[in-house]
């Protein structure tokens, strides 16, 4: 029987950049805060962010939060909510200085300030960086600050279900990976910071841990997911599995070439070339590859002219990845790259304080959708979002928790979870989940990738429905208590399948091309009149149900988007 093992004011689910930043803020506001994470916090996928974090510090050239905001609105293909974007860009500089004051090991300018490099679709060199391990450096500094505050972490606890009671979110039911057993943790407020769901795709930059747990838990608790069709494809990932090569390479001046050595972006984004936005470049690459101008399904990321010194100093991680996984040394040879699933602009719908529709439940970081990224995120804005909105949701959750007293987890919650778990573990025969997982990922790649076509999306809907049926008979082979990743992996697959359904429904209904959602055959252009609005998917009677919500605008009217 699951039991409530502890109660807290604020319980953060996920301990990457957003989760840790939220926990720190809640702690400093005086709340009793704890984190749950299925992997140790420093293992979080935030640490794999390479290129940098965007803030208008003006260290490399003149810049302002307003220009940052405009770039972000334009980059979002006008689907971003402008109130959230203004907050992000206004608060970004102070938030970055705070990270530096805490000890983040940023690269430096000649005069000792935080160094900033150019990034895609940015009007100024705005991306603060630490070589090409910026995410790693931020995860480390946040973990250091968590250690300093001695914030408790339920480490290797797998969050499975939200506790909803009395119209509030009041805790989380978890599976204890290390010791086994269901454990329920009560809380006045819960902040979801579980990251993305890139594991929906075969070629993805995302870690194995990125299975959309928080999104799916919120969905199952009746909350809407916003803009789920908006999955960003990063232009430079390594075949075959999608390991990320940073946009910082292009920020430092790398070229993208087709098999003839042509810098083909001249034909797609003549002004910004390799520094156009990610959706534009991923499409251009895919068109080159589809037209037979690729090299074994890739294009070439050419760093040769940067020279050995600059590559070794500024991009050592990218070089290491390329050499380890492909045996290609970018000092001598271009790196073969292709678009790969990278970042979910969509997620749990929140306001600018991270609040969801359910009282006491918040979301921050990639699992949330404020939306500051709209239909296409700019490189360097994701880390910034985790920090700024992690902080804001931590502050709001703490304030709410400190003015409310009770936490109540009904027995029925634990009984239901126990029953569901036993049904899964007691199953004696069925299908091992890996084939379902691999088929989901490969078909999503095929049918819901860089370009989307009506018949493929329809087909994908049918495929996912079939996989859902097979999942009903998924067989967990490991029946043990200690580190049963067979069990958690199977639960994760269930999360992914639900999210895929939401994506397909939203993708079919968005009958236009905007940002990451490109429909070249039937709706090749943006349609502001009918579709400048967010998709919202609820889970109703075991199926996704779509509705729409307007974009929140402040001062920028939609314009034609050219790079």
């Amino acid at each position: 029987m699951a039991r409530v093992i502890a109660k807290h004011d604020v319980l953060v689910v996920g301990a990457g950049c957003a989760g840790m930043r939220a926990a720190i803020e809640a702690f400093d506001a005086g709340a009793d805060v704890a984190m749950i994470s299925k992997i140790h916090p420093t293992r979080s996928h935030s640490g794999a962010a390479e290129g940098g974090i965007n803030a208008a510090l003006g260290n490399a050239s003149e810049d302002s939060p307003e220009i940052h905001a405009y770039d972000t609105v334009k980059g979002s293909d006008y689907l971003g909510d402008q109130d959230g974007i203004e907050i992000l860009c206004d608060e970004a500089p102070a938030d970055v200085y705070q990270l530096e004051n805490w000890g983040a090991v940023f690269s430096r300018t000649e005069d000792g300030r935080i160094a900033q490099r150019p990034f895609g679709a940015a009007g100024a060199p705005r991306t603060a960086y630490a070589a090409d391990i910026t995410g790693h450096v931020l995860v480390q500094v946040l973990w250091e600050q968590v250690c300093k505050r001695d914030i408790p972490t339920y480490e290797e606890y797998f969050a499975w279900q939200l506790v909803e009671n009395d119209g509030r979110c009041q805790g989380v039911v978890c599976w204890d990976l290390m010791d086994g057993g269901l454990k329920t943790i009560g809380a006045k407020t819960v902040i979801l910071a579980t990251g993305g769901a890139g594991r929906l795709y075969t070629g993805t930059t995302n870690a194995y841990a990125c299975t959309g747990d928080g999104m799916a838990m919120a969905l199952r608790a009746g909350l809407p997911l916003k803009d789920m069709e908006m999955m960003q494809f990063h232009p430079t990932t390594l075949a075959p599995t999608g390991v990320l090569i940073t946009e910082g390479c292009r920020g430092e001046g790398a070229y993208l070439l087709n098999k003839d050595g042509e810098r083909f972006l001249k034909r797609y984004a003549p002004n910004t070339m390799e520094l156009a936005s990610r959706d534009v470049i991923s499409r251009a690459e895919q068109m080159e590859i589809d037209a037979g101008r690729g090299v074994d399904g890739n294009v070439l990321l050419d760093l040769r002219h940067l020279g050995a010194e600059r590559i070794i100093e500024r991009l050592p991680g990218s070089r290491e990845l390329s050499m380890t996984f492909l045996g290609v040394d970018p000092i001598y040879d271009p790196i073969p790259v292709r678009p790969g699933a990278h970042y979910h602009m969509g997620g749990v719908a929140t306001d600018v304080w991270g609040q969801t529709e359910l009282t006491g439940l918040y979301a921050a970081g990639e699992c949330a959708c404020v939306s500051v990224h709209g239909a296409n995120r700019l490189g360097g804005n994701a880390l910034m979002e985790t920090i700024t909105f992690g902080k804001r949701s931590g502050a709001h959750a703490a304030e709410w928790a400190l003015s409310h007293t009770t936490v109540e987890v009904p027995d029925s919650v634990e009984r239901d979870a126990e029953r569901e778990l036993n049904a899964l573990l007691d199953r004696k025969d069925g299908e091992r989940p890996w084939a379902i997982r691999d088929e989901l990922a490969s078909t999503m790649h095929e049918n819901f990738g860089v370009f989307r076509r009506e018949h493929q999306m329809e087909e994908q809907g049918t495929i996912v429905a079939g996989l859902q049926q097979r999942y009903e008979r998924a067989l967990v082979e490991d029946k043990g208590e200690v580190f049963n990743s067979d069990l958690t992996g199977t639960i994760e697959l269930g999360f992914l399948l639900d999210l895929a359904e939401c994506m397909v429904v939203a993708g079919i209904e968005r009958r236009e091309s905007r940002g990451a959602h490109a429909r070249p055959d039937d709706y090749p252009v943006r349609d502001d009149e009918n579709f400048m609005k967010h998709t919202m998917v609820h889970w109703v009677d075991g199926a996704p149900k779509l509705s729409w919500e307007p974009v929140r605008m402040t001062k920028w009217q939609p314009q034609e988007r050219k790079y």
């Binding site: 293992r43 430096r108 995410g135 810098r263 534009v280 002219h305 050995a308 091992r432 790079y563």
Partner: protein, 374 residues
């Protein structure tokens, strides 16, 4: 080897030490699998778990050498599973033995209990302790890149535990702070923003601290990220001595080495013991020393002599002084880590690189004739 992306399969055989802490059962099991030619050890474990035995336990996450989850041993040496390509091993017919990391309790199969590891990490008070002036303008501290480079390697640490797994000193003294915690310590001692240098050095100079390191260099050898923890420990030692924190026998030992070398050009071992451990302790060891002398293990102190090439030692010492390489700052960063990546780069010009046989085409810009579209 086929180009990445083509699913050409190879046969891979692995032996894995299975362990169940609940029952105490332990067994070496062999698995034969088919894997893509590009597969890493981690990919192979995934195939074993998916298709052969769902109960196999190991940690994984990023599969790109940055999260530090998949530290384990292959043929007795710590590796990151995601960094270890299997093609050559499989082709050679070798069947590698995969086991959990050393120096940490095993919970199941390849999963170790990391609590002791993190306890040492926490013992370092691993957070910046502002003690100097905070930036008045509310912005960042102003630090040169050169100064930041001092802790470049330490900042690369991903806490995977490979160094701890291989640490010989920790094997005999489990309380030893160990390579990763001390590297983390250096990350703060070397940071000009940190104001707790003396307190930190005092702590690292106490029992189970830096001087317990046996200098076997296994941590440097096995670190998958080029952190070079042993170098960090050396830097902490140098900084301790530079700051006058030298009461530990280890510090005295090191100082006497230098003194002995620069005065007579050789190591005067009979003086080493009293200089390091004190006269009283040294006297207690007289019998031991005489036994050593009897077996010709120590050169006789009499008559006193000076090595012929003593000036070499003296000049070296002078050079080190002149270059101000007495503390942590004096240690040049990055060579080792970068050398690991430096697969024969010879400083060719761009033209030479473009002209290499089989080189990819030179980049060129197309002329645009019509209105561009995005």
């Amino acid at each position: 080897m086929a180009a990445a992306g083509e699913e050409v399969l190879m046969k891979v055989a692995l032996k894995i030490w299975r362990y169940d802490s609940a029952t105490g059962d332990r067994a070496l099991k062999e698995y034969e699998i088919e894997a893509p030619e590009w597969a890493t050890l981690l990919d192979c474990l995934d195939i074993v778990k998916d298709k052969h035995d769902g109960s196999l336990a190991y940690r994984k996450s990023c599969r790109m050498m940055i999260c530090g989850s998949c530290g384990m041993r292959m043929d007795g040496a710590a590796v990151l599973a995601c960094k270890t390509r299997m093609y050559e091993i499989a082709q050679s017919g070798h069947v590698p033995v995969v086991s959990a990391m050393g120096n940490l309790p095993i919970r199941k199969d390849l999963v170790v209990d990391m609590d002791p590891f993190w306890a040492k990490f926490n013992a370092m008070k691993p957070w910046l302790q502002p003690g100097y002036e905070r930036p008045e303008d509310g912005r960042e501290y102003r630090i040169s890149q050169e100064r930041m480079n001092v802790i470049h390697k330490e900042a690369l640490c991903i806490n995977c535990g490979c160094c701890v797994s291989e640490c010989n000193a920790m094997e005999s003294d489990p309380e030893f702070l160990g390579p990763q915690a001390l590297a983390k310590g250096m990350r703060f001692v070397g940071d000009p923003r940190d104001g707790a240098t003396i307190e930190r050095l005092e702590q690292y100079n106490s029992e189970h601290g830096i001087w317990d390191c046996t200098r076997c260099f296994f941590c440097n050898e096995r670190c998958p990220k080029g952190v070079d923890p042993r170098d960090a420990i050396a830097k902490l030692g140098a900084e301790s001595v530079a700051q006058g924190i030298d009461r530990d026998m280890g510090a005295k030992h090191a100082k006497w080495f230098v003194k002995s070398a620069e005065t007579t050009g050789w190591l005067r071992e009979t003086e080493l013991v009293p200089k390091t451990q004190g006269v009283v302790e040294a006297l207690k060891q007289t019998k031991f020393a005489l036994n050593l002398a009897k077996h010709g293990k120590v050169p006789p102190p009499f008559p006193p002599h000076v090595a012929r090439d003593v000036n070499e030692a003296r000049n070296l010492r002078k050079l080190v002084r002149e270059q101000d390489r007495q503390g942590a700052l004096g240690h040049v960063q990055g060579e080792h880590a970068l050398a690991k990546l430096d697969h024969g780069h010879a400083g060719e010009s761009l033209e030479e690189i473009y002209d290499r046989p089989g080189a990819a085409p030179r980049p060129w810009l197309p002329e645009i004739k019509e209105e561009p579209s995005a």
